[in-house]
């Protein structure tokens, strides 16, 4: 209610720009890399996506929380965002599946947020200056003091975070219907929808900790290997396991972080995008078919591979299979054997969607075909 509106809060960017708003979610102070997400639906999936670990997410859609939260749409065991920035939080939840209000959920999980700021101004700032560290506080009223603390925070570049979000113990997601394959899925920050979509295709998914070795993988009797999405800078990750997988010629499929690692394993570099791709409306062209998919993205880093020619690697010939039509960023890689047989592939975006369009779900079928050996 406007009269007894929530306490004031401030958001300070590392370059000193200050936004004044109101406390949202948990009271207190938080820090992280400020990034913006342009999705108009799916905030619950976004909040629970481990790839957002250590990031303060700015929602460009003004009204957040309208449909509350429900028991089905979480993508992992908790909310991962380091902080949450919205313009107009819902005062009333309205949806038949909702079990509670978003604001309460944020508060209970200790997620510090800020509302009632010019999120578009903030977004334009991040677009022009690039993603940067920021702090949100409902306890500190002096922006300069908060700025000092912002500048003490570690940068996202060079951050190794997979370990922080991964499961400590392996678990199995059983195949639905007749079991056709077994897949070892390394959890670098995996989203629940990924094993679900595999299971729907008759795949028994063994989700393993990020630290799993080739032997751990072999131990599951895997027909194929999957590396998930996840937070952090791919440059910090160790790709020896993945290289061993490729050397062993196990069918491989990677998503997001799993695409960046695949790139590095093949000898490509990775780099940080100015402000990344975060949204569910991104046009990606599948260069093998020339068709465009509208896809869900959440990445701040990308693979640096040549678009115009294949690259010879120790494991075969690698080509860029998908590009983002907005900025020509590499969105997918393909590895073929000398005889042209597909050995491994990966995409930078999210075929599992959640949130987002289902246009790219066919990639999970491609993975089963790959394991069936008919590609």
């Amino acid at each position: 209610m406007p009269s007894h509106a929530p306490a004031p809060a401030i958001l300070v960017l590392e370059d000193g720009r200050v936004f004044r708003g109101r406390s949202y979610g948990a009271a207190g102070e938080t820090f992280g890399e400020a990034v913006f997400n342009t999705g108009m639906t799916g905030y619950q999936e976004t909040l629970t996506d481990p790839s957002y670990h250590r990031q303060v997410v700015v929602m460009t859609a003004p009204h957040i929380g309208n449909t509350g939260v429900n028991g089905e749409d979480d993508e992992s065991r908790r909310i991962w965002v380091a902080g949450y920035v919205v313009r107009d939080p819902a005062r009333r939840t309205s949806n038949w599946r909702a079990t509670r209000d978003l604001a309460d959920e944020l508060a209970d999980q200790g997620v510090v947020g800020i509302s009632d700021i010019d999120t578009r101004a903030l977004t334009r700032h991040l677009r022009e200056r690039g993603s940067m560290r920021c702090g949100i506080s409902s306890t500190e009223s002096d922006p300069q003091a908060l700025l000092a603390r912002v500048l003490e925070q570690p940068a996202m570049k060079g951050a190794d975070l997979a370990g922080e979000v991964s499961v400590d113990a392996a678990y199995v997601v059983p195949a639905q219907g007749d079991k056709r394959f077994t897949v070892a899925a390394l959890d670098l920050g995996i989203k629940g929808m990924t094993p679900e979509l595999m299971a729907q295709r008759g795949i028994e998914v063994h989700v393993l900790p990020a630290t799993a070795t080739l032997d751990d993988i072999r131990a599951t009797g895997a027909d194929g290997v999957f590396f998930s999405n996840g937070p952090g800078d791919p440059a910090t990750a160790d790709v020896s396991t993945l290289q061993a997988v490729l050397a062993a010629d196990l069918p491989y499929f990677g998503i997001c972080f799993g695409n960046q690692l695949f790139g590095r394993a093949l000898g490509f570099g990775t780099y940080k995008l100015k402000y990344g791709h975060r949204g569910i409306n991104q046009p990606v062209m599948d260069r093998t078919t020339g068709k465009v998919e509208v896809t869900a993205h959440n990445h701040g880093f990308a693979v640096d591979a040549p678009l115009d020619r294949p690259t010879t690697t120790p494991y075969g010939e690698a080509t860029v299979s998908h590009v983002c039509l907005n900025d020509d960023v590499v969105e997918g890689l393909e590895l073929r054997a000398a005889d042209g047989r597909l050995r491994a592939f990966s995409v930078q975006y999210h075929p599992e969607a959640a949130a987002g369009p289902h246009d790219a779900a066919y990639l999970f079928d491609r993975f089963t075909s790959l394991m069936a050996g008919d590609l």
Binding site: M1, P2, S3, F19, F36, T38, G39, M40, T41, G42, Q44, E45, T60, A61, P62, H63, N66, T67, N70, E72, D73, R87, D88, A90, R91, R92, T93, S94, N95, W96, R97, I117, D118, T119, R120, A121, T123, R124, R127, G279, I280, N281, Q282, P283, M285, G290, K291, V292, V294, L325, N326, A353, A354, A355, G356, P357, H358
Partner: protein
């Protein structure tokens, strides 16, 4: 895939006259399509009977045929032009139906014309309910249980299955014509009957009712490589049961989770693929059960639609433009998104726009014009226009949208008392959807109703109800606050409160509030519609205001002109005014100005971000316009504001703007007052030695009676300060005068402050409409239009001919002199419209409007002269002489002096009567009078009057009959004048039927006529049918019925009632019905022309040659 090389020329079909359910959104889409196709180097052939459209301007197509959109005429055009392809998806249901007819008659095949965008099969699958339902099932969706019926009997069987209520929906109609919700057997008879009649395939669907479910719409786009994108999701605030066109709608959807949204998206993609709309756009509607999320697909339209225009404006993604490009072979990834096109290059159109703002559309109704019409909203559309607003949140957008409607009681208002006791009554009232329901919802909340109680009553989603509560809470704080603190003011503005609302709440004037606001520096910023929520830089300055932190208005060097548009369409102010605004914009950018458009009507070409250099999608109120002017003055030099072209809306703002130091270009606000204020205008006329009909003003019956007695009956009475002849009536006697005053005094429309105007009513006067241009020195007579119906029928409703058919040079010279005298006397700079009445050789001045008029586009097309363009430049200081020299206006002569072989243009008005019913299902009367009722117009253009008139009728109502039965029933005063035309018809082989009296007169004059029974007499002993039965059974091809003027009981009264029965039957059976003597004469000439059978087609470009040659 690049453009197809095998298509060199394309035929585009427009949507014809503006009618309810099909308004200027199709001018917007058609204009975009023509622009695109032309710029792609294709030859564009356009057929559209509506002269008020931008698309029918010669420069938008290579060959523009302002001809009837009937298979007969379109075939003539095809035979003449031999286009390679036909694009039927941009002209609404009219174009779609025409294309279907052309296909079914084998005409397309005969001339080898390919349907692009959507082919016949796709259209059929999309529109045929049985096929469509099968498709939805195939892609895993659900439809409401339903039965296709071809007879009333079928319908009754269906109801046995479904039980009441059921929804009746005719196939192949638009705007829900003939559809409705039947609660019982009578409803079923009535609605299904009308529905079967309305459907071109006499097919209706009887469907399970899902009233109260949430309603959604998705706009989908597909290319030949099967790339599909969803452009926009739209959520209806009013749940199922209220036509989308009448609902308050919101974009993007506010109350769907991603799972639910993606489910709708998957269905949409599956459906567009199965239906096979392979290149273009379509919209798909859904209902979602708020209780369990069950989804039902309502329908799809395999074409661009009202919603796609809305979606284009809401997202910045130009659906029609892209649809045209994909139709000629491009794929979405090859088409740039010109909004993001900037220094960094542009992103492609193969993406889905994302919004960082909220868009709200609200409908505008016109029930007050159709006494007795049922104002309850249902499944067929009743609104005549709409306004859209953009805000950074829902409350801001909603309140901006409501004030954009410009109807004084649209916006929320807290000045009236609401008490606990009203709650129940209010809850019952809001259970039935009607115009203005939302305000009642607000009152219910004020009366203490909870969000859930309101939801139970209305099924409006609780989230929206809570947003209304939020607005109310802010209002309560404003009421309670001891003083208006900056925080409170900001809070109010953040939720869309206008200075006017704040003034009312705080008991002070809007000006005071504005003063305080500016003193405190509380001003709006301007954000940009960029399709991508700021992810990429935007190149196109498409702005909306919001009370937020950062503004995005870019500085500029060039001098700007701000053009005020005309706001939501309404009867009396529609597309014609948008036409003039768009022309001004084009002309002024040619002249080197930076053009800035302000408007809030999403249907229009003026609100296309391509039209002007800058677009502000904002309400047209003093507050909003002043802020825009301020913002633009910060950005660079401003030459001034144009208030003259958008109709009464901007004209009404002129004074206030000037009072706040804004420069108004063209006719000064004081001059405007001279013309608008009766006393002052009377003096202008007196000085010029011109006469107005005798008149006086009264505030009571007694006074009125004296005046009437003095000037003599009949008198024409009207309240002051009305538009479109609102409340205007012809009164033939004292009794009628008494009841009129009682009615309007009671309604508070007549008071000492606003007296009733009593004019001598000129009987049998010829009415003349004039559009002219004046630069202070020279007068350019744009055109002199002679009305076909006599004075007494509103100029907007009567048909007219240009050049005039019966006026001689002498009269025209008098008109020219009078026009020039008035132009000087008033001090016009720019356009002037005058209505004259010629009676007993005296030229009376009825009124002068110092602004662009409804007829400007008609005149411009008929005379091949860009009047509005010229006007804009005159307003900015150029002289008519200079414009003649510049070739904008003809080197010499004007529209008053037209060459002998000048073709004749006939304008015919189109009425919305078939849309309105009384609560008990009766048709509303269709007689015309001084109050305007038409929604649109068509133009017939040809060598001679008869042919032009015949074309105008074909375009407006369907072809005039060339054989069959004519029914004639005339008021006594008209009996003499009807004899010759009736004789002519008899000679042409028509069988004449007439009522007793009329038949006798005819017989005495040697015309055989069969007497038919009057309606009130009922069927005869041998079951002889009454007139009404004959009409309804389609046994009569033409009806001539002039209304009995005098009211009163007895025979006359009965006859009058009979006239009503006849005219309304005509509307239902869709038989041409002529209600005036001159109209009758014209029709006879038209029928003669048709019988001669030499009716051809000619493009405006060809006609323009003739006209220029004649000069």
């Amino acid at each position: 895939m690049p453009k197809r090389e095998d298509i060199k020329s394309v035929l585009v079909i427009g949507s014809g006259p503006i009618i309810i359910g099909q308004a200027c959104e199709f001018d917007y889409s058609g204009t975009q399509a023509c622009r695109v196709l032309k710029s792609e180097g294709l030859r564009v052939v356009l057929v559209n009977s509506n002269p008020a459209t931008i698309m029918t301007d010669p420069e938008f197509a290579d060959a523009t045929y302002v001809e009837p959109i009937t298979p007969e005429f379109v075939e003539k055009v095809i035979a003449k032009e031999r286009p390679d392809a036909l694009l039927p998806t941009l002209g609404g249901q009219t174009a779609l139906n025409a294309a279907i007819a052309l296909h079914e008659r084998g005409i397309l095949e005969k001339y080898g014309v390919e349907m692009i965008g959507a082919n016949f099969e796709a259209i059929h699958r999309g529109e045929n309910r049985e096929l469509f339902n099968a498709i939805v099932a195939k892609v895993g969706g659900e439809v409401a249980r339903s039965f296709v019926c071809h007879t009333i009997a079928d319908c009754e069987k269906a109801v046995e299955e479904l039980g009441f209520p059921v929804v009746v929906r005719p196939s192949f109609t638009m705007g829900g014509t003939g559809s409705g919700i039947a609660y019982d057997a009578d409803d079923l008879q009535r609605i299904a009957g009308a529905g079967l009649a309305a459907s071109p395939t006499t097919e209706v669907l009887i469907e399970e009712s899902i009233i109260g479910w949430k309603e959604y719409e998705l706009e989908v786009m597909r290319d030949r490589k099967d790339n599909v994108v969803i452009v926009c999701s739209i959520e209806n605030l009013d749940p199922m049961g209220v036509h989308t066109g009448d609902s308050i709608t919101v974009a993007p959807a506010m109350t769907l989770t991603d799972r639910e949204y993606q489910h709708l998206r998957d269905l949409a993609i599956g459906i567009i693929r199965e239906v096979g709309v392979d290149t273009g756009g379509c919209n798909i509607q859904y209902a979602v059960n708020p209780v369990d999320g069950r989804v039902i697909v309502i329908e799809m339209n395999p074409r661009v639609s009202r919603s796609s225009a809305l979606a284009s404006k809401a997202t910045g993604f130009p659906i029609a433009k892209i649809a045209a490009k994909v139709a000629i072979g491009y794929t979405l990834d090859e088409i740039p998104n010109d909004i993001t096109a900037g220094p960094h290059g542009s992103t492609p159109a193969a993406f889905e726009p994302t919004l960082d703002y909220v868009v709200v559309k609200v409908p505008r109704f016109a029930f007050e014009k159709f006494p007795g019409a049922d104002p309850v909203l249902t499944t067929h559309m009743k609104s005549v226009g709409e306004a859209m607003a953009i805000g950074r949140n829902f409350t801001e957008a909603l309140q901006k949208a409501l004030r954009s409607l410009e109807s004084k009681d649209a916006a929320f208002d807290w000045s009236h008392e609401v008490v606990e006791l009203d709650k129940q009554a209010l809850l019952t009232e809001i259970a039935k959807p009607h115009d203005g329901r939302l305000k009642k919802v607000m009152d219910a909340l004020r009366a203490g109703a909870t969000a859930d109680e309101v939801f139970e009553a209305t099924r409006i989603d609780p989230w929206y109800v809570d947003q209304l509560s939020l607005i109310n809470e802010v209002a309560q704080e404003l009421i309670a606050a001891p003083e208006l603190t900056p925080e409170l003011l900001r809070l109010a503005k953040r939720h869309g409160f206008s200075d006017v609302q704040l003034g009312r709440i705080r008991g002070t004037s809007p000006d005071v509030i504005r003063g305080v606001r500016h003193a405190l520096g509380v001003r709006p910023v301007y954000k940009t519609v960029d399709t991508c929520a700021a992810e990429f830089a935007a190149a196109t300055p498409y702005h909306y205001s919001s009370y937020d932190e950062e503004t995005e208005v870019a500085p500029r060097e060039r001098e700007a002109v701000i053009i005020l548009g005309s706001g939501p369409n309404r009867i009396g102010q529609g597309i014609e005014f948008d036409y003039s605004c768009v022309h001004a914009s084009l002309a002024l950018s040619e002249a080197g100005y930076e053009t800035v458009m302000v408007n809030c009507n999403p249907e229009t070409v003026s609100t296309d971000y391509d039209t002007s250099d800058r677009l502000y999608f904002e309400p047209l109120t003093l507050e909003d316009v002043l802020e825009i002017v301020h913002a633009e003055e910060q950005a660079g030099p401003v030459a001034g504001v144009i208030c003259q072209l958008g109709g009464q809306t901007p004209l009404g703002l002129a004074q206030g703007l000037a009072a706040n130091g804004v420069r108004i270009v063209g006719t000064s606000p004081d001059a405007i007052d001279l013309a608008e204020e009766r006393g002052a205008f009377g003096r202008v006329l007196a000085r010029a030695g011109l006469t107005a009909p005798k008149h006086g003003t009264a505030t009571s019956f007694v006074e009125a009676r004296e005046i009437a007695a003095e000037i003599g009956y009949p008198v024409l009475v009207r309240p002051s300060y009305v538009l479109g002849g609102r409340g205007m009536e012809i009164v033939y006697g004292e009794e009628a005068l008494r009841s009129y005053l009682e009615k309007y005094v009671a309604a508070g429309l007549i008071s000492p402050a606003a007296p009733v105007l009593v004019d001598r009513f000129l009987d049998d006067a010829v009415e003349i409409d004039v559009d002219a241009l004046f630069d202070g020195e020279e007068l350019f007579l744009g055109g002199v239009m002679e009305h076909i119906e006599e004075a007494g029928i509103h100029s907007g409703d009567s048909s007219c001919a240009l050049p005039p058919i019966t006026l001689g040079d002498r009269e025209i010279d008098r008109i020219r002199e009078a026009t020039e005298a008035i132009a000087r006397g008033v001090g016009v700079r720019g356009l002037l419209n005058i209505q004259f009445a010629l009676s007993a050789d005296i030229l009376y001045v009825l009124e002068a409007n110092p602004r662009a008029s409804r007829t400007v586009p008609f005149v411009s097309k008929a005379t091949a002269t860009p009047l509005a363009k010229a006007a804009a430049r005159v307003m900015l200081g150029e002289s008519i002489a200079e414009l003649r020299a510049a070739g904008v206006l003809p080197a010499e002569g004007d529209g008053g002096r037209l060459p002998a072989d000048q073709p004749i243009a006939v304008k015919e008005a189109v009425m919305p009567f078939n849309r309105f019913r009384t609560p008990d299902g009766l048709q509303v009367d269709t007689v015309l009078g001084p109050e305007m009722k038409s929604t649109g117009e068509v133009m017939g253009f040809d060598r001679d009057f008869g042919t032009a008139f015949a074309k105008s009728q074909a375009a407006a109502f369907g072809h005039l009959p060339t054989s069959g039965k004519v029914f004639v029933s005339m008021a006594n005063r008209d009996k003499r004048s009807m004899i010759f035309p009736v004789k002519a018809l008899a000679d042409m082989g028509f069988e004449i039927l007439a009522t007793q009296g009329t038949a006798e007169v005819l017989r005495r004059n040697g015309v055989a006529a069969t007497v038919v029974r009057k309606h009130f007499e009922g069927p005869g002993p041998q079951g002889e049918k009454t007139t009404v039965q004959l009409i309804l059974d389609g046994e009569i091809q033409l009806i001539v019925n002039t209304p009995y003027g005098a009211a009163g009981g007895g025979q006359v009264g009965q006859a009058r009632l009979d006239g009503y029965e006849i005219r309304t039957a005509a509307v239902r059976a869709n038989v041409p019905c002529i209600t005036t003597v001159p109209g009758f004469g014209a029709a006879v000439q038209g029928i003669e022309a048709m019988l001669r059978g030499d009716v051809g087609v000619r493009s405006l470009q060809e006609w323009a040659e003739v006209v220029r040659a004649g000069r």
